[in-house]
């Protein structure tokens, strides 16, 4: 526990030091980034201790706030969530020292360090007021990070939607903690076990408050509208931290609070599953249609959160139905996917950031052929792509493997129409896996491979050593996760045991061990090496000649002839996806014999935001403005208000 305080101390000092107006921004970067790296290191040690220790380390300090107490609790579940936080924080800090442009860097590092501190505090808080305090500090610091480049109007708009969504979510959390505090007498989590004695309907209302409150921060389907705007607006290592970790603190909150609520009825799990699978399908469908790389990755975060929610919902559902093996598999799958997603999504965001850093723009239409000029970044993005599509040697497959096994086991075991639901989920999950493949091959194929589409892409320069080393570290972690799935299961086991005590024996035993996955990953690498050596052996003697790509007789192939981002996903849109998701495209259809200059504009705004939330808020604002005529401006009416208020009060007092 004291390593955690050490990390907070270092981060806090770093934040203050970086806030001071130093002469050269180099010092700020060193101070801020350095303190972030050191803080994360000591945080990692604390997380490690938390994972290894059997009993939870608690710390309590009387805090002068009414109803609040500065009490922390570092148990297996908190340590499990601290792990990705400090890994991604460390790597992000290293990356940020080079990525952050000079003039914007000053306050950036203080917000970054404070974000890390507040996220760590959210995960270890053991008192309702402290939890909300840290929760809102996390939202505020991330808001200030999102609007780092506040001179761009769309960045400010994204920041505003983000702040709005988190605040509405926080209102639901306020309601939850206050009701819980009212029932249990105090806001300490220790006294929240009284919640388990609640009757059905009240517990359900609390659960719904939890889902809306944490859902709006986790980017769960209907409340995800801020995510595709906010994450791309932030600097890349901050988007990595937000997508990889901050979204997971919401899942942590949901899990921690659900562990206090009474035994969940089946429909809770059902609700989470339906939201999860719709979110996954919606997220990945939208990800396939975005021109902006980071926006596409943000949508893929919505998809992965959907998958995690599907797994956790299925865990609740099958625990309520009494299938413990299936529940253990689903829980393991959910938590492992959560950890893996933190790693490979951060890798992808850092890669996208370095692409933007090198080629100067986030638009896929202006990238192309960056692999030749940025080999390391290219390789890292390919590794990240393989991990996110759950392709074998990487860690993405481990989480999905557990989820599939849970669905399969329950699909095979349930008789009658009960088995219908998990099987349908398997079908959808497979569809999502296929679409993920489309998204990643699109990003890699259009951005990295092929012919550069703009002069800036032609002169793209490779990232410096900090950015490269950050990405390499994450890629190695992903590969290690894929090759040694046992370690992943052991780490998640610590957290899962706390959430689902009666599945403890399963996590220890051999029933759900992914041992073979590791072996197959090694075998795959062996087979690849063998095939590669065979290829080199056969090619060794023959000469390698380079020529232009075979263009079926075209003499001068240009970059405009290769597939573009829109055309890549066009077949998927028309073939698979439903019409409500099709993006707006003002196509430049040529009419007449001598068409003038035509342009083709294509953008895919979020349909939920455009078709539901924006009209709703506009209409509400319209009503409010109409009611404002009460303030009509002439004094007589105001006098009438006073007079009628007096008379009304007199009558009311008279009646009582």
């Amino acid at each position: 526990m004291n390593f955690l305080f050490l990390s907070w101390l270092v981060l806090g000092l770093g934040a203050c030091a970086a806030a001071l107006p130093w002469r050269s921004s180099k010092i700020t970067a060193i101070l801020g980034g350095g303190s972030a790296v050191l803080g994360c290191l000591s945080g990692l040690i604390a997380a490690g201790q938390g994972l290894i220790a059997d009993t939870a380390a608690t710390f309590s300090l009387p805090w002068s706030m009414p109803g609040g107490s500065f009490s922390l609790r570092l148990d297996g579940l908190s340590a499990f969530f601290l792990l990705p936080l400090f890994i991604v924080g460390l790597v992000g800090a290293l990356y940020g020292t080079e990525y952050m442009r000079k003039e914007k860097a000053r306050l950036h590092w203080s917000w970054y360090n404070l974000l890390l501190v507040s996220m760590a505090m959210v995960v270890t808080a053991a008192n309702g007021l402290l939890f909300l305090f840290a929760w809102e500090c996390m939202s505020l610091t991330s808001f200030f990070l999102v609007i780092t480049e506040y001179d761009l109007p769309e960045v400010v708009a994204a920041g505003w939607t983000y702040l709005l969504a988190t605040h509405l979510g926080a209102a639901c959390l306020f309601a939850f903690f206050l009701t819980a505090g009212a029932f249990c007498g105090s806001l300490d989590f220790a006294s929240f076990h009284l919640l388990s004695t609640l009757t059905g309907p009240v517990a359900s209302v609390l659960f719904l408050l939890l889902v809306t409150g944490f859902g709006s921060k986790a980017g769960i389907f209907p409340f995800h509208v801020w995510l595709p705007d906010a994450h791309p607006a932030a600097p890349s290592h901050v988007s990595a931290l937000m997508s990889g970790v901050m979204v997971k603190t919401a899942i942590y909150g949901l899990l921690r609070m659900c562990s206090f609520l009474p035994a969940s009825p089946a429909w809770w799990g059902g609700l989470l599953m339906t939201i999860g699978i719709t979110g996954a399908l919606f997220g990945i469908a939208m990800a396939a249609m975005q021109r902006d790389v980071k926006r596409s990755l943000a949508y893929s975060t919505v998809e992965n959160i959907g998958i995690i929610l599907l797994a956790l919902g299925f865990w609740m559902h099958s625990r309520a139905a009494g299938q413990h093996v299936v529940a253990a598999l689903a829980l393991a799958g959910g938590l492992i996917h959560l950890l893996n997603h933190a790693l490979f999504k951060s890798l992808l965001f850092l890669g996208a950031g370095s692409l933007m850093h090198g080629s100067g723009s986030r638009d896929l239409g202006r990238m192309g052929g960056l692999m030749r000029r940025m080999p390391v970044t290219g390789l890292m993005i390919v590794c990240g792509g393989m991990a996110i599509c759950a392709l074998p040697p990487f860690n993405g497959l481990v989480g999905e493997w557990f989820i599939y096994r849970a669905l399969l086991e329950s699909g095979a075991a349930l008789s009658g129409l009960g088995g219908f639901f998990p099987v349908m989920l398997i079908g959808f999950l497979a569809l999502v896996g296929g679409l993920a493949l489309i998204v990643m091959t699109r990003i890699i194929g259009i951005a990295l491979l092929g012919v550069p589409r703009s002069p800036a892409a032609a002169q793209a320069h490779e990232a410096g050593w900090p950015m490269r080393s950050a990405m390499i570290a994450l890629a190695l972690l992903c590969l290690a996760g894929g090759l040694m799935p046992i370690q992943l299961l052991r780490v998640t086991g610590r957290a899962a045991v706390l959430l689902d005590p009666d599945s403890a024996h399963l996590f220890a035993g051999q029933v759900i061990t992914p041992w073979w996955l590791g072996i197959m990953a090694f075998l795959l690498i062996g087979a690849l090496l063998a095939a590669f050596s065979f290829n080199r052996w056969r090619q060794g003697r023959a000469t390698v000649a380079a020529a232009s790509t075979w263009g079926c007789g075209f003499a001068f192939p240009s970059s405009r002839m290769s597939y573009s981002a829109e055309s890549y996903s066009e077949l998927a849109q028309s073939g698979i996806l439903c019409s409500c998701l099709t993006p707006e495209s003002k196509d430049g259809r040529t009419i007449g014999f001598f068409p003038l200059r035509r342009s083709f504009v294509f953008n895919a705004p979020d349909p939920v935001l455009e078709k539901f939330f924006k009209p709703l808020f506009q209409r509400l604002a319209g009503y409010c403005r109409r009611c404002c005529r009460l303030q009509s401006g002439n004094l007589h009416i105001y006098m009438l208000y006073v007079f009628s208020a007096t008379v009304l009060l007199l009558f009311w007092v008279g009646l009582r």
Binding site: R625, C628, R629, L630, Q631, S632, G633, N634, L635, H636, M639, L640, F643, L650, G654
Partner: protein, 212 residues
């Protein structure tokens, strides 16, 4: 003594109705001054001649009878308008509302239990009636001066009501009330002067630009 008191109070109610009905500004101010004069006699009649009541009556007479009407007349002369423009809801409806308000005041004061020696006096109903009339003038009149007059009548209503409690109201607070009344009206007249200079008219219709 009581009959004279009742007569004076009934006179006050009649003056109220006259104020509600009349449209000429000068006569309104004179009526208010006259009403102020009557009110300043009340403490002497109600509680006999003692140092306290004498001083109170003289200060009230000085302020309500002379000082404030002089200020208002000066304001009128600078603005040289004579006639109140048609009130928001017309003269007849104002009068009807005035009678309704007075009836309401009497009903309301009927429900309030009075101590034996006050049970016969009409102080409470007349006070409330004058108060309601003042409120009505504030609501319905357009000219700033008539609104100030309405505020004055409103204060008169409270002053009548204050008569019941002369021994409770120490001297200092009584004079404080009157002093504040004077300063309030004084500031109002300065403002009316500014309004007139700014808008070159005294009615408050164009004072509605501040709205949502």
């Amino acid at each position: 003594m009581d009959t004279l008191l009742h007569l004076l109070l009934l006179l006050v109610i009649l003056l109220n109705f006259f104020l509600l009905g009349s449209s000429r500004l000068a006569s309104c101010i004179r009526t208010t001054a006259f009403q102020g004069g009557i009110l300043s006699l009340l403490p002497l009649l109600a509680h006999g001649f003692s140092g306290h009541t004498l001083f109170l009556a003289s200060v009230a007479f000085l302020l309500k009878g002379i000082a404030i009407p002089y200020l208002l007349f000066r304001a009128i002369r600078q603005v040289h308008i004579r006639r109140e423009v048609e009130p928001l809801i017309g003269y007849v409806p104002t009068l009807i509302l005035g009678t309704l308000a007075t009836a309401g005041a009497f009903i309301f004061s009927g429900r309030l239990p009075l101590i034996p020696e006050h049970s016969q006096s009409l102080f409470v109903p007349v006070g409330l009636a004058t108060l309601a009339t003042g409120f009505l003038m504030l609501i319905s009149r357009r000219k700033a001066i008539t609104q100030a007059l309405g505020y004055l009548i409103f204060e008169n209503g409270i002053f009548i009501f204050g008569m019941l409690l002369t021994e409770a109201m120490p001297l200092m607070v009584e004079s404080g009330v009157l002093l504040d009344l004077l300063v309030g009206v004084f500031v109002m007249t300065i403002l009316m002067h500014q309004i007139n200079r700014e808008f070159s008219t005294m009615n408050t219709d164009n004072l509605t630009s501040l709205k949502e």
